[in-house]
Amino acid sequence: MPKKTTQAPSLHPPMLEVDNLAKYFDVSKPLLARVIERLPRQILKAVDGVSFKIEPGQTFSLVGESGCGKSTVAKLIVGLHKPTRGLIKFDGSDVADAKSSAEIAAMRRRWQMIFQDPYASLNPRWRVRDIIAEPIREFKLAFSKAEIFDRVGALLTQVGLSPVDGEKYPHEFSGGQRQRISIARALSSNPEFLVCDEPTSALDVSVQAQILNLMKDLQKDVGLTYLFISHNLAVVYHLSDMIGVMYLGRLCEVSSAKELFHAPQHPYTRLLLETIPDLEMTGRVREPVGGEVPNPITPPSGCAFHPRCPFANERCKSETPKLTESSGHLVACFGAEEGRLPDAKYTAPKQAAAS
């Protein structure tokens, strides 16, 4: 359930602040091929100027379809990619300022990541207890074997498994159980900030419910801040405080969860909300907008959404909109700026009667 966003002005700096973050990949063909075929260099702008803030204790979700760059943003934040441009500030300090290995390690201990594929995120040759203990050993948080295994046992219990599961190998567990192990590993260094890259997309619905409930419980018990990446709008609705919608490497709209679903501003947000299936069986007729996500290597000029946008004008084709304030949301749309957009027609389905 989306929580209130009107918080008292916090004395703490934001847990995470990202400013004009960008990541370009060089996907050109090898030198020889380029020379012979006279091809230009090809640059993939996976993330192209993304800025947002996450307050402590919040859940911030990034949604979008494939190629929008949300996974790349997650990887940039945890250090799996080096940014081409832009600033990442964790708890008020620039992550690039940490130079000595002690400083870097101290910083790294405070965040962790959970991945999408439960089958590839655990080393099949390691026992579960060693997988979970790896951050503890790496950050030197405990030394004796007994201490470490005690901690691993406690973590396994915390995520709903049993301490004896530590002896087993990953292939003895189901997908949902493996995600629990991943969560236990992520918690073992006592982090404050968790980046979750589509953690439930590969799971069955009933298992997903278990994992989402677990994540909510842990957030309350341990006091975590989440950056949650997903393409599933219903999950995002259920879990988030703030939501950022991405398209082709840029943010289209950032707002509180309730506001986003109640009155979506950006035309792409409206398109996404149209795709939510009618599980309330209201008989609502969907009007899917046509077109597909363009190739990110050759994005459209100006606003990347203009070829599919019913409200695009000449300005949209030549200039790139920036995130600006509009009706309480941050929206990157000239239509919103110029007040050309009609009121959002989408309304969240009414609360279901008790079944």
Partner: protein, 330 residues
């Protein structure tokens, strides 16, 4: 008489550790022009059901019992060649991954024309025209130009449209669609679902839509069958199954799905997980996890029985006179 009738189907997998029963005595039917959703989680057996119907069950799996009838004619006992003729002509198929459903070495046009000519008597020119027609119908822009393109030159959504065109080539009566939208982006999913609905209305083709995504079912299906551990737990009109589920598993499943506008602190959690094929419990296979379990559930397996507007395989809804009301609990 229904277009497709499946009666008491059993599918087994002999392994060196014993014979596994993957589908245990299910019966369903699809009427002409209707969309039947078959929904379930991983391991429930829904893909196997589709594969058995279309005759693509991978050995060592085999149909151990039951009948499958298309237009009254038995198709589960047909020899390979005859089944091959039925496949494509009367039953079409759409699978999950558009990348592997198309042969990367041949152009889209070649594959369409080849399929058309296998099932009809059209000449090369006529088949090519029909191919362009089909591509336009499934919404591929500039179809006449794109007929000479290779599959890798299309995007994911476009490829799936080509696969749908291939399935519709010979005007089949029934299409088996196994997770046709799972690998696609949400906006493309919505487009493909709308396309399937439109085509089936226009061609009066029935669809068996196999998926784990209740949302797709809600948008597309007329009726839905919920599968659990190789059996059907509940079946009925889609509106009733989704809004007023009767079987405790369906109730739990619907409660576990997060819905926009539905503000809950926690999602419904069904404890435990679907049993492994080697460990299916006696009686009703859901009994270890069922909040409404009764004594009878541990010994007798329930058949589908009337439960309001749907049919549910649950002793809770039995109309048999048992004297005093059975209380819950073991």
């Amino acid at each position: 008489m229904a277009l497709l009738e499946v009666e008491n189907l059993r599918v087994e997998f002999p392994t060196r550790r014993g014979t596994l029963l993957a589908i245990d005595d299910i019966s369903l039917h699809i009427n002409e022009g209707e969309v039947l959703g078959v929904v379930g989680e991983s391991g429930a057996g829904k893909s196997l059901t589709g594969a058995s119907i279309i005759g693509l069950l991978e050995p060592p799996g085999r149909i151990a019992a039951g009948q499958i009838r298309l237009d009254g004619q038995r198709i589960d006992t047909l020899p390979y060649d005859e089944m091959r003729r039925i496949r494509g002509k009367k039953i079409g198929a759409i699978f999950q991954d558009p990348l592997t459903s198309l042969n990367p070495l041949y152009t889209v046009g070649h594959q369409l024309v080849e399929t058309i000519q296998v099932h009809t008597d059209l000449t090369d020119k006529q088949a090519l025209d029909r191919a362009v027609e089909l591509l336009t119908e499934v919404g591929i822009p500039a179809a006449a130009r794109r007929i000479g393109s290779y599959p890798h030159e299309f995007s994911g959504g476009m490829r799936q449209r080509v696969v749908i065109a291939l399935a519709l080539c010979a005007n089949p009566r029934l299409i088996i669609a196994d997770e046709p939208t799972t690998a696609l982006d949400v906006s493309i999913q919505a487009q493909i679902i709308a396309l399937l609905k439109k085509l089936c209305r226009e061609h009066k083709t029935a669809i068996m839509l196999i998926t784990h995504d209740m949302g797709v079912i809600a948008e597309t299906a007329d009726r839905v069958a919920v599968m659990y551990a190789g059996r059907i737990a509940e079946v009925g009109p889609v509106k009733n199954v989704i809004k007023q589920p009767k079987h405790p598993y369906t109730v739990g499943l619907m409660g576990a799905i997060p819905m926009v506008g539905h503000d809950v602190e926690r999602l419904t959690q069904i404890e435990g997980s679907m049993p492994r094929l080697t460990d299916i419990p006696e009686g009703c296979s859901f009994n270890p996890r069922c909040p409404k379990v009764m004594k009878r559930c541990f010994t007798d397996r329930p058949d589908l029985m009337h439960a309001g507007k749907t049919d549910a395989a649950c002793w809770y809804y039995t109309k048999e006179k048992t004297g005093s009301k059975e209380k819950a609990g073991a």
